[in-house]
Symmetry: C2
Subunit: 415 residues, 2 copies
């Protein structure tokens, strides 16, 4: 039997015991995992050094090496993340609906764990702990398949968590790590209908698209964000400028950062040259449409490809539009249903934008960077869904639950 099938079967077998755990037992297990990560941090850093060395030898970029690297402080932060999950309400076991039918049937719809959750992700070893904590807190078993660049780190981290779990009521087999770095191990996970209840991809576009295109198991699509900010002709420059700068510059590598700025032609005439210069001074490369370039001649030229690109970098495409309708058309054509913003003092146009734009999060006069489980007050996040089924936008713990109808009767039959 393959590693993937074997470990997923073990995870599935563990769901029985997981279903019976109390919130306290799950919390104790998460705290034990956090303590063990701190206690064994030297060992984890040792394993991480092997990954880093191999990465350097393979010519891995400095920014990727930085994402991969662990030290005492980072392990403290990872353990602290688990402790924060402990503090969150347990979303399982809740009565979502309750009714007694005229025939006397008593029907309760109860929130339950999903079952076995598969997570496919890339190099950052903190995801290993974070995803494990979120899935186990919600009573799910979890099968992790991290990137090969972090394999030694992930192995050690999971071994440490397994040791910790062995001293708790939570079955260690509920946490599985696929160690095969072969791409076929991902392909196999994607087809495990009946064993895996859902797969959540976390990573870049190619990882996510591979999962979406090839999975027969249900998927929650996350992450890709070509986010727009539209500056209306009644935008207040005192709000528009900080919002644009924040959405682009504060953390350009993430999905909720802005990729395209849409500017009403009147606002552009008055303010674009100044705003563009400020962005340039902050290190942003600008690529504009023809109209924008007549106003800011030093700007590079935006091609059709630019409107379709999630730069995740200090690059911004800029389009000057004739008004709200053209902005809406552009977003409809190029948006990824993630986060979209209008800056305006005109209430009616703001309402139209919020109503018409089809996205997980729509903003009036605030940075798109707020699309995040912590910023929304959920205290944790398993990802940001860009699909419309099951969960949309930042996913907190409830996104890791399903429901079940529990029906009590006294001999009722259907007439």
């Amino acid at each position: 039997m393959s590693e993937v099938r074997d470990k997923t079967l073990r995870a599935k077998a563990a769901t029985r015991a997981m279903n019976r755990l109390t919130t306290e037992q799950k919390n104790e297990a998460l705290l034990a995992m956090a303590d063990a990560l701190i206690a064994r941090s030297a060992s984890i850093i040792e394993a991480n050094a092997i990954d880093l060395e191999r990465g350097r030898a393979n010519g891995t970029s400095a920014s990727l090496l930085d994402r991969l690297a662990l030290n005492g402080q980072r392990i403290e932060a990872i353990a602290e993340g688990l402790r924060q999950i402990v503090e969150l309400d347990d979303p399982t076991g809740r009565i979502v609906e309750e009714t007694t039918r005229p025939n006397g049937l008593h029907i309760r719809k109860i929130s339950v764990p999903i079952g076995v959750v598969g997570i496919v992700y890339e190099a950052r070893p903190n995801v290993t702990v974070d995803a494990a904590g979120l899935c186990l807190k919600t009573g799910n078993a979890v099968v992790l398949r991290g990137g090969s660049a972090a394999l030694e780190s992930n192995r050690r981290i999971v071994a440490v968590m397994h040791e910790a779990l062995a001293r708790t009521s939570l079955p260690p087999e509920a946490l599985q790590l696929i160690e095969s770095s072969d791409r076929s191990s991902v392909d196999e996970m994607l087809k495990l209908n009946g064993l895996l209840d859902v797969i959540i991809p976390r990573g870049g576009r190619s990882l996510i698209q591979n999962v979406v295109q090839n999975a027969t198991v249900p998927v929650i699509e996350t992450g890709e964000g070509i986010c727009h900010t539209y500056l209306d002709d009644e935008a207040d420059p005192a709000k528009a400028e900080p919002i644009v700068i924040n959405a682009k510059v504060q953390r350009p590598s993430v999905c909720n950062s802005m990729e395209t700025l849409l500017v009403h032609e009147r606002y552009a005439g008055a303010h674009l040259a100044d705003l563009a210069a400020k962005l340039r001074d902050l290190g942003v490369e600008l690529r504009g449409c023809a109209k924008s370039r007549t106003l800011v001649p030093w700007m590079g030229e935006a091609t059709e490809d630019d409107w379709r690109t999630e730069y995740n970098d200090l690059i911004l495409s800029v389009k000057t539009v004739s008004g709200l309708d053209e902005a809406l058309d552009h977003i409809r054509e190029y948006g990824t249903l993630h986060s979209e913003c209008i800056v305006t003092e005109h209430a009616g146009r703001a309402e139209t934008f919020l109503q018409e734009v089809d996205a997980a999060a729509v903003y009036h006069n605030a940075s798109t960077r707020f699309t995040d489980g912590f910023e929304f007050g959920y205290g944790a996040e398993i990802g940001i869904s860009t699909q419309k089924l099951h969960a949309r936008g930042p996913m907190g713990l409830p996104a890791l639950t399903s429901t079940k109808y529990v029906v009590h009767g006294s001999g009722q039959i259907r007439g």
Copy 2:
């Protein structure tokens, strides 16, 4: 451009107008559709006659011809179904969550239409009206792809509904029927990511499995039901017998009927012979395990295949088990997560069963036949989900909605 892509693009274009409709406008449109179906019933019956004639010429079974056949009374019932949908609450536009963050951001999570819903189904033309009504009431555009056996009926029905919609505020283009009876038209729908937001298959196992196995668009899996009833040794025969007979005999062709009876050996010793004889007298063919056949020698033999078969017919497999654990193991191995029942007067064992069995609906002392949107009080049903994401069990109108975060700020940026 293919018919499928062209019509789906039109449906998507119509979602803008759909989003702006009030509940009253949607209800007026549904009532206009209902009135038109009645007014034009002669024309619909005429088209249906062509389908029936072709079906007879092709040697279609009498039961399939019956499902396909329309008459005045059936069209009245179909129109009445639309009027019932009008009476239901509109699940869109609801504030699901609302919060103001410490930084002043005002965040509302609002229920919205999903967008464009694809429905792939088989011969029954009533589904054409029912699915259209449910999708339009929830503000969605819908792309219908019915079976070729009902093509003339579906064409005429949709033409009548289009005429009716043209006199209302609801854009007729929100309702699309794929007329190509080529299997490739289904295959094309399954891959329309970005145009179709979800596909819901309604039909038999092979139709559903084709969709699940080949779709890259998100799917809500429905329907397959290998449902079990477990008679505990403390089952009350006065409840057990009517529940078993109802679950098997009342309507064997549907997914919530029982396919396998599990019987505690003590209960079997006392009651199985009698119960089996009653089922036989009702026309049920019984196929038992070795233990069951020692008690009821005239019973046929159940093979491994029987435990895995959704008969949808007057056939029942019977297994005598040593107790609750063996029953749970059997359901875990062969169940389809649909509907499962325990009959017992023992509260503790009932609780264990309800807790441990992983299914959309679990029953204590009631027939599995109740897993149904109408029986649960939802007033309508777009299908019964057997997956765990988005919706599980009978799906009423809320299953056809998504959510959207609408965020109002006053210039907030992320620190």
